[in-house]
Amino acid sequence: MPGNTGTGRPMKNKIKVFRAMNDLTQEDLAQAIGVTRQTILAIEKGKYVPSLDLAFRISRHFRVNIEEVFQYDEAALTIDID
């Protein structure tokens, strides 16, 4: 489900996939980057779009580029504009 950045632009993420690949629970990831488990859950479910700082911290934790974890949904944006 696409999240809302507050500007009406959708954002997707693959945190759940990366967590599974790294064998991490939401609690583990939350503790590692200094947020609550509820925040990780909200981001995964697309209810909350993290700040750039938090997005970088998450992707750095998985040792990947930010765009591998977070994707900007251009298609949905085009639909919005139309």
Partner: protein
Amino acid sequence: MKKNTFYLVVGCIALALLAIFWYSVELHIRFLAEAAFVIAIGIIYLIRKKVTDIIDDERSARISEQASIRTFQVFWVAFAAMSIGAVMQMLYVPTFSKADFEELHPREILGPRMMGYFQLGLLCLMIFLYVGFRIYYARKYGDWETDEE
């Protein structure tokens, strides 16, 4: 300090505050209740900083921020409307056919008791608005989402 200890201390402060309020009402010492309230809130803020197991992350900060902004946006309108009414009462200078006007609308000035009720109403409105908006934004930003984990 642990979170539960903090809540326990807050409960004790609230009880002490209640006792002071009652005492100040009985003795008609308004200043005592006001000073006690300010001191109590100051103590709670100081203790809150010592709590180690409450994580204030950006999502919770955003929920508080959004709830505060929306509360302010609604509350200031209610506050301004009531203040305008109060200012009109204070000024009370009808320029059109003053004699007739005063006959039709005898001057009514809000007494201190009524002003107190209005203040209480505004205070309750502010609290209800904040709690309501907080619940709304907490829900919006996934506070009650459940997961398989």
